[in-house]
Symmetry: C2
Subunit: 362 residues, 2 copies
């Protein structure tokens, strides 16, 4: 990633590249490393796609409309590598290309603690989340959550006075759920609202994986308060673990379905959380950030896959996800070239990265 | 321990030795190994005590009264090393010298699963214990508990049809609590009631540590269903861990004080138990019994401490418990001789073994 301030042209190019169909964080990160700038990457796009449709970047007008929408809301665009980009997000592999922040963006310099859980939460669970956030906030910690009904909303409320980050799937101006309109406004005033989406984007189901990854990415530790099996909070917890962040879960009775997910996390090794002390103890035990457990398989950015390798990799893909290691082993080619080939295939819509970094047909 | 059937005289001598003041399981085990028989150990007692009162074994009449009481109740005395002594108890270090069993003593050949918990248990907790015992019983497992109010009683009830062991602090004929009189009778009929105490002994507070050690000792795994911090069930769980047995705990809400103890066990490494499947999974993972974690510091049974070593060890003791290793290190003497000296001091009431094997002044 280039150091120093970005030119306006490069900022706009990066926003365009990030908004280009088929360009996810993995491809964005790779293209920037490979071509040195988003401007160069945008130019190179057509020749990277040998078969399939070349993805078309949005027009400059569309990008200007996004920038205008942000300005109207008083939101700030922060690109990876720019000052103000949250250090914990920058440590991700790959980092999100950009965030929009509405409110006190300075809060994002502090490491957060994610407090997440069920939307249909019990009164006791919400009270627990609120007081946990309050105590952690008083202990100097930033509380990160997703502004959803239930546990998320309670966590934000508990931390309104001390600092809280609401991470949205929609744009920072997208108020959802409607009953959190006032909470949204108060966080925009006293805390900060963050999203990867364009500021006026309405949240859709497909936005939530990236939002969950942002919640865990902004946090040193994630506390799951109530969660059924197969719920979104468990996905956030899994992402946190993959990102090398701590996971805590609040235990509950086996007779309470909302404790199934948290008890299962504990069974899988999450720390038991009965209150702020447990979180503080886990944080104390951290000797700084751990590396993400999913290691990159990058390499020299100049790796240029030839047509043969690209088609060989394409043939190895199927709807069943495979790991990068599998592809390297099966192809016998060097990892960086295999990686570049997968990115090129993903640009053409012929491959897709799953949230866990595994690869399927597009 | 001698092999083969015991003579009547040796059986009575063992019962006398076991009932001698200051002779706990550690001293019993040591004296039997050192002198080859309880008859010889009883004879040697006076010369083992150089300072302090020689403990006097109960009269033969008193022993006969204990045997008569057992006979009246239809209970059976089973000494360590005799056929019918539960294999899991025999594996303890040291094993209890004897048990009384009333009911179907053949059940004791099977390894048990302990289900224990709070006396003042919630209705949900009792329901959970009952159905856990029922399911584990149907899966072929023997359920061990302490016949106390609350969780213990519920566990026995759930396993009445399939096999259950009630371990008492008082004698096998001591009905406590009174509201469990019918349960006591039903277990004596269909299951088995076990105790280290004389059959008509009324339970006292000091009997419960040995009763708890028997519950965990009869069990491959202990499940703690509800427990406050510092409760007896946690002691049973700790003993189980020291004995190399598995510990599971049922999680609960941090807002429920009866989950404090179980959540804390999980924090310390106990397996999460949400139902019978969790227990069965843990049992499957066992490759047979593990060795107790507290290793003996025995040695050649002929080790004879001299006066100087005995007094040196006595001087090293205080009300603060020390480990055997500490004493060996501080004295510089060989472990078997130090061990023999501690046993002799304990017979004179000048040393005492704690439940964890550590040693204090008597």
């Amino acid at each position: 990633m280039t150091a120093g301030p970005l030119t306006d042209a490069e900022r706009i190019a990066r926003l365009r590249l990030a908004r280009t169909p088929n360009v996810g964080p993995v491809a964005f990160d790779h293209l920037l490393a490979r071509f040195g700038s988003a401007e160069a990457a945008l130019e190179a796009l057509p020749r990277l796609v040998q078969r399939g449709a070349v993805p078309s970047p949005p027009s400059r007008d569309a990008i200007q409309r996004e920038l205008d929408a942000g300005e109207r809301l008083g939101a700030r665009l922060i690109l990876t590598g720019e000052p103000g980009f949250p250090p914990l997000l920058a440590a991700l592999d790959p980092p999100p290309p950009l965030i929009w922040a509405m409110g006190d963006a300075a809060l994002l310099a502090r490491p957060g603690i994610g407090v997440v859980g069920a939307r249909v939460a019990s009164a006791a669970g919400q009270r627990f989340a609120r007081s946990l956030a309050l105590e952690l906030g008083r202990a100097g910690h930033l509380i990160v959550s997703g502004l959803a009904r239930g546990i998320d909303g309670a966590a934000h409320e508990g931390a309104l006075e001390t600092g809280t980050v609401a991470v949205l799937g929609g744009g920072v101006g997208d108020i959802y759920p409607p009953e959190h309109a006032e909470l949204h406004a108060r966080i925009a005033e006293r805390g900060v609202i963050v999203s990867e989406s364009p500021p006026d984007h309405r949240a859709q189901a497909k936005d939530f994986p990236r939002r969950n990854r942002l919640i865990s990415g902004l946090s040193l530790a994630i506390v799951v308060v109530e969660a059924e099996l197969k719920s979104g909070s468990l996905i956030t917890a899994r992402l946190a673990a993959e990102q090398g962040r701590e996971v805590l879960a609040v235990p509950g009775s086996p007779l309470d379905p909302r404790a199934r997910g948290t008890n299962d996390l504990i069974r899988q090794g999450a720390a038991v959380c009965e209150g702020a002390d447990d979180v503080l103890r886990v944080l104390e035990s951290l000797g700084g950030l751990r590396e993400p457990t999913r290691r990159p398989w990058r390499g020299p950015s100049a790796a240029e896959p030839d047509d043969a390798l690209r088609e060989q990799i394409a043939a190895l893909l199927s709807p069943t996800p495979v790991s990068p290691d599998d592809l390297v082993r099966a192809s016998g080619a060097p990892a960086p070239a295999v990686f570049a080939a997968v990115v090129e295939l993903s640009l053409a819509g012929r491959a897709a990265f799953g949230p866990d970094g595994r690869i399927t047909t597009g």
